[in-house]
């Protein structure tokens, strides 16, 4: 799939929310390929954005297009090219994984025999050939999630939306799912929301950071990093003496001290800590740091109210 995902002043005010903006004039343009990962705190608006783009929810105002197709005006055209796993999607307990994938494909317009073949293939790809005919209600939570991922894998749609597909999975299963998501994204555009920053870091070509209905930062990990004033992060134990420095020292989220600084200063400080025998670690700023920078800046701005 070529083209771009473009949003222009996309705004959503739910009827029942007394004017509160769940999405507040979101504008963006990103290539419609690879993985776009949306991160943000609970209630930031990730699901709202995904549901609007996936033609499930009407925006209050603004426009969005995917590969030039308007999500509102040309929903019908778009719907044959997208596949979705909603945030709270669950497998129907009285069906088997095979039946689940099969019926989904039939709704997507495949014939019965075509669907059957694709279902077997997709369930095999997620390693569920053995459980294909077991009732969903007898599968573990992780396996149920794999069934849903198999539906999207089988759909082979130009654009797939997965809203928190790995929430609640153990670290091994999560990594296993990443493999399938990468597989989808090799050919198609995948929009993925997650609360696991390492997941976004690992999979995303473009990361969108959302906060209270706004897209506060969007770009590749590299470009988000370079939008920060400081590129390096040094961590010290709580007991360490913090010297005079060019940068900022804050209480780290791990209880120690975190210094954010530039490359030269990081080098100088490293020499200093080595000389004085202080334990420390130095890294490029992570997505965690970027995320907290954007979200915290925003909290700082509004928090005083």
């Amino acid at each position: 799939m070529g083209g771009e995902l473009v949003c222009s002043e996309l705004t959503k005010v739910y009827d029942s929310s007394k004017g509160k903006r769940a999405l507040d004039a979101i504008s963006l343009a990103v290539p419609a390929r690879g993985v776009l990962s949306l991160i943000g705190m609970n209630g930031a608006g990730k699901t709202t954005l995904v549901r609007i783009l996936a033609t499930q929810l009407a925006p209050t105002s603004g426009v969005a297009t995917i590969d030039g197709v308007d999500v509102v005006k040309e929903a019908k055209r778009l719907r044959s090219r997208i596949a979705v796993i909603p945030q709270e999607a669950r497998t129907v307990p009285w069906m088997t994984p095979r039946q689940t994938v099969l019926t989904y494909l039939m709704w997507r317009g495949c014939t019965y025999s075509e669907s059957k073949k694709k279902a077997t293939d997709a369930l095999g790809r997620v390693g569920m050939q053995e459980q294909s005919d077991v009732m969903n209600r007898r599968l573990s939570g992780g396996m149920k999630r794999k069934v849903l991922v198999a539906t999207v894998l089988a759909a082979d749609a130009d654009v797939s939306f997965l809203d928190e597909p790995t929430t609640g999975l153990d670290p091994v299963s999560r990594r296993e799912l990443w493999g399938f998501l990468e597989e989808i994204a090799r050919k198609h555009f995948l929009i993925l929301t997650t609360h696991y920053l390492e997941e976004a870091e690992e999979l995303a070509n473009v990361i969108g950071i959302m906060d209270r209905g706004k897209m506060v930062g969007i770009g590749s990990l590299e470009s988000l990093r370079s939008s920060l004033k400081y590129q390096y992060s040094i961590r010290l134990p709580a007991s360490a003496q913090v010297p005079q420095l060019d940068g900022v020292a804050t209480p780290g989220r791990d209880g120690g001290v975190q210094i954010l600084t530039n490359e030269d200063e990081a080098y100088r400080l490293s020499q200093l800590f080595l000389g004085s025998g202080t334990r420390f670690s130095v890294n490029r700023v992570s997505l965690d740091d970027v995320f907290f920078h954007y979200v915290r800046a925003d909290i700082g701005e509004h928090g005083a109210q």
Binding site: D15, A75, Y104, W107
Partner: protein, 247 residues
């Protein structure tokens, strides 16, 4: 395009009845028993005098209950599994989805309809024309109930609400109105209230067709007119008000 429609409808029938039935045969027992239970009560209380009316009532109720079940099933699949969200974002249109889901409800009614058909054969012996009238009435009931069921389902956001909707439609349209006995049994001022329900017209038309009631032809024509008009209006409301893409 045509085969795609057929496949999409089949998917709904599979999910909403064939697969489900295999797991929960008790649902099937319920759909057979509930129209028959009223029938038995009325037949016994009337010492057999109203058995013909009651059988026709059974037909009307099993058709009408399709919409009630449809409302519950659609809400369940939408709210608890987010299945409808997945279908909305697919090439399946709301019309196709609902057609499939409604046919699935009809599949559930087959055993009850079979029992009723046998009873009708024994106790009513309808002529071909009478049978045709009954089938026409049943079709109208089916269509209007699914229009109500679909519209309400798109507004329900959880199981408690959907359960309340189900009870409400079934009480208002099939328990309260004179479906199993002649409308003339209802004292006059209340009789007007009965005419607020489309099922009353269905019962009057059926009973009149098989000679359990004798209404003037003009009045029956009006009843048909109202029943068809109500069905059309309910469909228009469903098409206009039902929420496929949420707002």
């Amino acid at each position: 395009m045509k085969s795609r429609f057929f496949g999409q409808v089949t998917a709904a029938v599979l999910v909403n009845s064939l697969y489900e039935m295999r797991n929960y045969p008790v649902v099937l027992v319920n759909t057979v028993l509930s129209p028959l239970s009223f029938l038995l009560v009325i037949a016994f209380v009337s010492k057999g005098g109203l058995i013909g009316d009651a059988i026709e009532g059974g037909f009307i109720m099993s058709m009408f209950s399709s919409g009630v079940s449809l409302q519950g099933d659609l809400s369940h699949l939408k709210n608890d599994f987010k299945l409808q969200d997945m279908v909305v974002a697919s090439p399946t249109s709301p019309f196709t989805y609902v057609t499939g889901m409604a046919l699935a409800e009809l599949v559930y009614s087959i055993p009850a309809l079979a029992v009723l058909t046998v009873l009708a054969w024994i106790f009513i012996h309808p002529s071909a024309v009478q049978a045709l009238v009954l089938v026409g009435v049943m079709l109208m009931m089916f269509l209007s109930s699914i229009a109500i069921g679909f519209t309400l389902a798109t507004f329900s956001s959880d199981i408690v609400q959907s359960f309340a909707f189900s009870r409400l439609i079934s009480t208002l349209f099939s328990t309260l109105p004179p479906v199993y006995y002649p409308v003339t049994y209802i004292p006059l001022p209340f009789r007007y209230a009965a005419y607020l329900s489309p099922t009353t017209y269905a019962a009057v038309i059926s009973q009149n067709a098989t000679g359990f009631l004798s209404e003037p032809g003009a009045s029956i024509a009006i009843d048909w007119g109202i029943m068809i008009a109500v069905t059309v209006v309910l469909f228009l409301v469903a098409a206009k008000k039902a929420r496929w893409r949420e707002v």
